[in-house]
Amino acid sequence: MSADADVEVLRREGRIVVVGASLAGLRAAETLRDKGFTGSLTMIGDEPYEPYDRPPLSKQALLGRARAEDTALPRRREIDAEWRLGVAAEGLDRQAKRVRLANRDTVPYDRLLITTGTRARPWIHPDEAALDGVFVLRTRDDSVRLDRKLAGSPSRVLVIGAGFTGSEVASACRERGLEVTVAERGPAPLVGALGGVIGAVADRLQRRKGVNLRCGISVTALEGDYAGRLRRAHLSDGSAIEAEVAVVSLGAIRNTDWLAGSGLAAGPRGIACDAGCRVFDVNGIVTDDIYAAGDVARSPHPLFDYQFLSLEHWGNAVEQAEIAAHNMICAGPDRRPHLWLPMFWSSQFGVNIKSVGVPSLGDQLVVAQGTLAEERFVAVYGYHGRVIAAASFDGAKWLGFYQQQIEAAAPFPPEYGTVDRRTETLEPVDPAFPDPHLPTHGPTVTLTGHSPSERRVEFVPSHA
């Protein structure tokens, strides 16, 4: 039997198992059926819910615009899948081609897609994390619980970490009329994703909206009362603040633990895969039956020195899932590469923040349109004399243009005239990214080196 015939058999009667029943898993399943896959399809998810959309959980769901329970994703088509929800995958046996579930069931596969995503990084001290009033925000249940707590008008909310999620939570709290303190270890909010120059704009914005922002400071301990309710937090400058609620927004951990011992190149920075979403094993040999997509994957990108990028972006999950699904049921020459340009958005304090490209790779920055002082601008990032990224505050209409500039490796600083340009010559400045070895909190792009097993950045929790 030829390899091509194998693919035909697979498309007709193969068994495809998707581990991770969220955005990437759902879109992959729809694409498989769209491409004519008629075999059996099993969707495994650790949460008991049908696939739902996470971005609203820190926005609409906390602003009273929607309930967290109502965020189920729309379906592009029927997928005729067997759903195994509310039970996590616990192990992978590549020899036997079987996924082992937490309830001891095993699920055999011919092709496996891993879309297990990330989970919220918990507070470092488990006993303090267990206090009533200490939250993380990643799941539907997290959002419901936090919303309920905020409805009780707590005297003060402490947000730990001023990445995107933390800043969005702080924004929602201010709109609800709640007192908020944000504690950020870095010099400004959003600094890991966008650098210190843009971080300074976010800093002004938060203060103007009434946030008690404390940068350059870490929370060293959370203290409860006799009944186990949070009452105050201790800070690294020796001070303490009274708070009934703490929202721990220290970024995400990739859900790769269940792959320990599987022999796949999976670790804290994600699962390494090639540009066709095929997963590498620990020896750097690519598998042909296991694929990864979404937040859990990291793959090399030609526009960014072929470094392995790991992206916690909604759009990446959709696009990479579609590519993975296509490649799973295609013969070699028909496969397509995942060359998505990183892109994300955040809305906070009434401002629409968007980014395209990889800002953290930038060594220079110019404000090409608008001004930082007005909190309405497009900042363009340069890397070795070419445009590598752009970020906008209320300037979304321009980002498509900068996307083309990045894809074309256009020279930096930009040589063209732009609308709403305020200076005669664009003066490049250092975008002021913190040392990449220090942890950052924002859901953004992480450059994770050139080899499937390399890890350049490691999270080092601060201890009291």
Binding site: Q60, R65, R75, E78, I79, G86, W345, N352, A396
Partner: protein, 75 residues
């Protein structure tokens, strides 16, 4: 009915806000907030909004195939 907006595509033209104000709203000048679940009564308006979106960022349900084994929607 379920919907989602691809906010990477959205550029804040706000056509949807005019056509289905109960489902879409601007927050500030440009940020779009949408209700991910809407009533059948809103269906025509939402479909009009999806069709009118200049960047085609709105995805509305094409299938109500049940998700067997999922915890049912409450309320």
């Amino acid at each position: 009915m379920r919907l989602v907006v691809d906010l990477n595509r959205c550029q804040g033209y706000a056509q949807c806000v005019f056509l289905a104000p109960d489902v879409f709203a601007l927050h500030g000048d440009e940020a779009l907030l949408f209700s991910p679940r809407f009533d059948e009564a809103q269906r025509d308006r939402v479909e009009e909004a999806a069709a009118a979106c200049p960047v085609q960022a709105i995805l509305v349900d094409y299938s109500d195939e049940p998700t067997r084994g999922a915890e049912p929607h409450v309320g």
